[in-house]
């Protein structure tokens, strides 16, 4: 279920043609932090042995030029039951890679990063995902009934507490789009998750058209990661008047040496399924 507040915002925009424009606004410069993108994604039905972790640095808000990749760190993931270590090799471009990872469903793993004399750590559990049972297109749902949307159908498992991350990326678009879901109101049901792209002339965005190819990824995620991503996703694209006050999202990477200098990003372990859908004439 999409949140109710989206409707309010949509209503206001729809009814009062309020005026929006891009303006120059000065913002503050916060502290530079380590950014940990430690997403160990295990595609359903694969071995999952090849995994990468990205380390970067944060930059001022409007910065487009800085090199952000972090090199020279030591990155190790440990199976907390067996004690087995998986060392991620520094590739010298901010990417750290291993080919020997052994994913175990429901297993807890820890992450340890040594960088600039400070130690960052995190703990997370490998979370499963259900299968996508169908993908189809339609116009009848969504905010706009005149445009195409994609439908992703899956059956939520019976026991409550399943959380989902969706990544949608239309081929040719610059940016992917993220959405999160929980089974709070829909536990155990067959869920039809729709996704549409609304027109935005200012940014040259057009709705789905026949021939468009959409890549869909659906991840099973832990509750803490859901809580984290829910805020992060809700703040993508800006935060309006009727939305929750924005904030600096805190992930699960703790700086053990200097707690105030925490890292952005998250150490996650997720199972995922993917699908590709090509839109056809309605």
């Amino acid at each position: 279920m999409k949140t109710l507040k989206i409707f309010i915002i949509a209503c206001i925009v729809a009814t009062f043609a309020s005026c929006e424009d891009v303006v120059d606004v000065e913002v503050q410069d916060g502290p530079k932090r380590l950014v940990v993108e430690a997403s160990l994604n295990w595609e359903k039905g694969t071995q999952g042995n090849e995994q990468t972790i990205q380390l970067r640095e944060s930059t001022p808000f409007y910065d487009t030029h800085s090199v952000t990749s972090v090199t020279g760190a030591s990155v190790v993931v440990t199976n907390t039951t067996s004690g087995e270590d998986y060392v991620f090799e520094d590739e010298g471009n901010g990417t750290y890679r291993t080919t020997s990872f052994e994913p175990v469903m429901g297993q807890e793993y820890s992450l340890r990063i040594d960088y600039n004399g400070e130690v960052y750590s995190a703990v997370e559990t490998m979370t499963p995902v259900t299968d996508i049972t169908d993908v189809f297109q339609d116009k009848d749902q969504g905010f706009d009934k005149d445009i195409l949307e994609a439908h992703v159908v899956f059956v939520d498992p019976m026991e409550e507490g399943n959380n989902y991350l969706f990544k949608f990326h239309r081929q040719g678009d610059l940016l992917p789009d993220l959405e999160v879901g929980e089974d709070k109101f829909v536990n155990g049901n067959e869920i039809d998750w729709w996704y549409e792209i609304e027109e935005d002339k200012g940014e040259n965005v057009v709705p789905f058209e026949p021939g468009d190819v959409l890549n869909i990824e659906m991840y099973g995620i832990s509750r803490p990661y859901y809580d984290y991503m829910k805020i992060l996703v809700s703040q993508l694209g800006g935060v309006g008047l009727f939305e929750t006050v924005p904030l600096a999202v805190r992930g699960n990477c703790i700086n053990e040496t200097n707690p105030g200098n925490y890292a952005f990003g998250y150490f996650r372990l997720t199972e995922f399924v993917k699908a590709e859908y090509t839109f056809v004439e309605d």
Binding site: K5, A10, V25, V27, F143, L174, D227, V239, G240, F264
Partner: protein, 801 residues
Amino acid sequence: MNSKPQLSPAIKSIVWLLWLFFLGCMLASGQTSHTVSGTITDKSNGETLFGASVFLSGTTIGGVTNEYGFYSITAPAGAYELKISYMGYNDVTIKIILNQDLKHNIEISEFSTELEEVVVTADEPERVILRKPEMSVVKMNIGTVKQMPVVLGEVDVLKSLQMLPGVTNNGEGTGGFHVRGGAQDQNLVLLDEAIIYNTSHMFGFFSVFNADAIKDVKLYKGGIPARFGGRVSSVLDIRQKDGNSKNFALTGGIGVISSRLTAEGPVFGDNGSFLVAGRRSYVDLILKAAGEDNSVSFYDLNLKTNYSVNANNKLFLSGYFGRDGFTLDSSFDSSYGNASGNLRWNHIFNDRLFSNLSAILSRYDYDLEFSEDEFKWVSSITNYNLKYDFRYYWSDAFKLDFGVNGIYYDFDPGEVTQTADTSPVNPLKLDQKRALESGVYLNAEHKLTPKLTAQYGLRYSAFSRLGGQPITEYANGQPVVYNPGLGIYQRGEAIGETDFARGDAIETFGNFEPRVSLAYLLNEDSSLKAGFSRTAQYIHLLSNTSSVTPLDVWTPSGPFVKPQLSNQYALGYFRNFLDKTYSLEVETYYKTVDNRIDYIDGSDLIGQNTIETEILNGEMRAYGLELLLRKNEGDLTGWIAYTLSKSEQRTLGGIAGGPGINDGDWYNSSFDRTHDVSVSGAYRMNEQWSFGANLVFQTGRPVTYPNGQYEYEGLSIASYAPRNSDRLPAYHRMDVSVTYVPRKYQNKRFKGEWVLSIYNLYHRKNAASISFGQNLETGANEATRTAIFGIVPSLTYNFKF
């Protein structure tokens, strides 16, 4: 009981009060005195007048009429001139011989309706304002409200109040108002004594109060009298008209957004009157005609009737019903609104004891229907309120108010029902909550010396959160727990539930609320006033957004949510000058609020059954200086208002541990405005033409901007600075209006006028919000401003028949 720490000061204040009451009674007895009492009404329509001065000329004996137009003056036997004056009305003087108790019901007439009668200028009675300890009060005549330029031609009581010092809103297109740095839910809004939970239509573009049905508006920004309770920031007391008791009349208007029609007239022979006022927007009709699937609409209906049983008994019945509707592309349908009703019985026991008994119902609810997902979401708050208020005019020097009040609340925070079996959404019902709020008060208005008048009173309020629902128990009693490693607040672990039977109280609170103010007359034209008030608030509006929405839900105090307690200190200087044409009011205040709810980072209030896992109890403080210079008489009237203020909040970790929200630092509340300047003027050129203008300047609203970015999941993620550490650009605008009364109407019964108003004359794009995100085409971060109103001209036609 959370009142333990203040028990001893409370007892001290009671002893003090009793002593003062005793003193008052002593002073009151002794002389042979008689009483003159009665009701003051408007000659043209029979409406009772609230706040009219009634004085014995050449003495300082007198007072003002109450909400029902009643006055009672007691003076030593003798011959007097009884003088009645009321702003905008002609003074009336009546010779009386006070050798027995007298009854005088007096009609007075407005300046404009019978110009030949304008004789006297205000004199003696103006001093009432100076003498009365009442401070921090704004009283607005509905006539003044109607003169001001407005957006889209909709006369708006709340927007007019925001032109006065100490009153602001949260930006264009947001509902409600803020008083002296307080939150919106800290205002007690009463329409004919019924609590109104949501004051706006169309998410705040317009207020729910139809100016044609309203008699007067009084806002207590501080120094809240003991008879009011339940909110810590202000009381907005709005009274509906009783209806014309002289003859049948129709009033109406046709505007850009809505049209309105009011019918009023006498009923029950000469013993009563009625009023029915309706207003409806027609944006939805236009949208439908244009083939648009989205729709927005509102309407409201005001009803009032009264019946005089005899000279000492009068019954009133009033009602309000308002509703907003929203439809989005036929997939989403919503409606929300207030409904209220009040049955009152005015009883005059004798010429010195006035009483009013009210039985009031009010309700706010919303209803959302998601047709494509086949479910419905409903939520409501309902209260039943019984109150009995007395005023005893003991002597000229001593007047006593006392009464009791009980409110039963029924909170239904949310229920999901499927509209078809195929709905993918499961049914859900959040726990229904019940509570009983009661109050008892005693308040005296006491002329201690000819120059010093005091008002002192005490309210005792009690609140019981009633059973009939389970209460969750948490590990270590912590619904919210600080995670020191991650540096965030998280939901506590539920370990069980306790079921409370319907008859049981889950938790009970009690608070003494002393209210004291003093007025000292420095000379004929100026006075100093000082006040202290303590107020308690037991119900809270849950809202973690920058601006409240109609879908926010009220919650009662209980095991995890403590009552808000506020102390406010105020000091003021008041002066009339240049023959009382001008007046100056300067006030300064300092107030604190304990137990203000604050929301942890990432709080989720939608469909949340255990809101205690999303909040912490914090505190607020606000202080400021307010200046108001008014020109009250002449062809040009108006005011200049300036406020310099600060409003902050802080939330420590408390039992949850950790430093607190925003690291436990004080941060600007979103209602903080450093500078706020409003200028409002009305100029009456002649019988045909009059003009109005507003000028507003405000420091921008505190907001949270990004202070960095990082790449994650192929996107640029904005990281935000500490809460409310940035500000929107300053807000300013100018509005003008012209009113034209065609000559042909002037001496006819039918009166019509055209009002042209231009809102935001110089088309400033005031930011309602600025949001930050990645441009989807270029990938670069940018800031997007949303401005609600540019220049908005509108034309309205009003008529009276």
